[in-house]
Symmetry: C2
Subunit: 271 residues, 2 copies
């Protein structure tokens, strides 16, 4: 489907856009099923938080309507929404009157090997670490060179995802996923107040688990704790849940809580 | 002057460009005098290092020729060169066959108040800290949200620049400048192996000082050391050297070494 810029069909962008100049923007990658953006409230909520933290004045209600209109045209696929601060003056200082720019890009449904979801995936232990920046932590902003470097560390089909630690050695997330572990029936995921992207599927799974009486714990995770986990899985809002069966020399089996949350994600994503 | 994309006049960019998607690119801001890019060897050297670290295959000789051609058309002004990894597939993984994209943007000469260079400037003590990422440190890449946040901390004309520390509290640089201090005749600037942009003017001043027998020291700098300095100045490749006269409650006078290096930068920049 053709892309939109500020609500109009377009496939190019002004060279003055601050998204290009400084990565001064945010994005959301949203699954679309039967013309409906999946988990759109959560996506818009995170985007809204990002706009607040970066001081973008965006009409979220109008954006939600635009998103729905685009998704309807897309039918089934993946929608990428980018919001930038708009055009730049020279230098880092923003023009206070600059109007944020909205970009919508549609693509066909993601196609991953069925084995990723069934047998689970192997994670590549990335050498690239996530730097700690509390002011940007949790946001899905456009400064993603760390993910680019991490993703370039492997090219074999053996590894479906990579494991990223922060510069202090804490276990944080995948390159394009959040990570969960299960230990003694408790669902555990990393505290993302220093770095990492607070994923929409992560938020939904935490919410659903709590609603079902499953104990959850958002905390700092040591590599040792990951190795001792009963179950490990990764998730995002496009593919849902993949059990993790290996990372380096560590091995895990897909357990009951992973399968339960995977089923839940499948229902949401209709895959 | 009109901008160029891949050597052709253009003012727009593909929405698929990874510079927009992930800040997956590098830039240089180059003063142009009488049709000549100033310190172009140093700019191209830093860009080359960035291309190596990010694994961009760029023909630097061809780029140098393109830069000279564009500068000739610009005459006097400021040239911004952006190199991105080119268009993206979906996701962080790069297409190994992707061709890096070259963007050249020209603007009129920068106009700063004469007082900045003569009486010196006041630095705003920024709360935004620089995160530590050795893999990207020193590069002028397109992930610049920390600078955007820092520059948004002040809007008064009292402050011409901001002072940035890293997350461990070391003194690193300005928002768009490098910082030097002088203590007992030694020229000192921050070690940029964890964060910061290794500026072209910084490199040139270090080289010139060493050539003239002035002792230089690239090291970690504590805030206390900054406060006790005999002279403090900031520099970049567009404005040259500005003495720093104040930051918060600290005060300094423009000393002889600052003035000597300022004269040198003026000669280079012909301002």
């Amino acid at each position: 489907m053709e892309s939109w810029v500020d609500g109009q069909p377009a496939d190019v962008l002004s060279l003055k856009d601050r998204g290009l100049a400084y990565g001064d923007g945010l994005f959301e990658t949203i699954a679309v099923r039967n013309g409906e953006p999946v988990l759109s409230d959560r996506h818009l909520q995170r985007l809204g938080l990002g706009c607040q933290r970066l001081a973008f004045k965006v009409d979220l209600a109008a954006l939600a309507a635009e998103l729905r209109a685009y998704a309807q045209g897309l039918g089934d696929g993946v929608l990428k929404l980018i919001v930038t601060r708009g055009d730049s003056l020279r230098g880092y200082g923003a023009d206070p009157s600059a109007v944020p720019r909205r970009i919508l890009l549609g693509s066909p449904p993601a196609s991953y090997p069925v084995a990723h979801a069934e047998q689970g995936v192997r994670l590549f232990p990335c050498v690239t670490r996530l730097s700690e920046q509390p002011l940007l932590a949790g946001l899905k902003h456009l400064n993603r060179l760390e993910q680019v470097l991490a993703r370039a560390e492997w090219s074999d089909a053996e590894h479906a995802e990579g494991l990223m630690l922060d510069t202090s050695g804490r276990v944080i997330e995948g390159v394009f996923s959040n990570l969960f572990l299960v230990r003694d029936g408790v669902l555990i995921t990393a505290d993302l107040s220093r770095c990492g992207v607070a994923g929409v599927m992560r938020a939904e799974l935490l919410y659903q688990a709590e609603s079902q009486g499953i104990a959850t714990h958002v905390t700092d995770i040591r590599l040792e704790q990951l190795h001792q986990a009963d179950e490990v899985f990764v998730c995002n809002s496009v593919y849902g849940v993949w059990p993790v069966r290996a990372c380096g020399s560590a091995r895990w089996s897909a357990g009951p809580l992973t399968r339960k949350l995977q089923t839940l994600a499948r229902t949401l994503l209709d895959v």
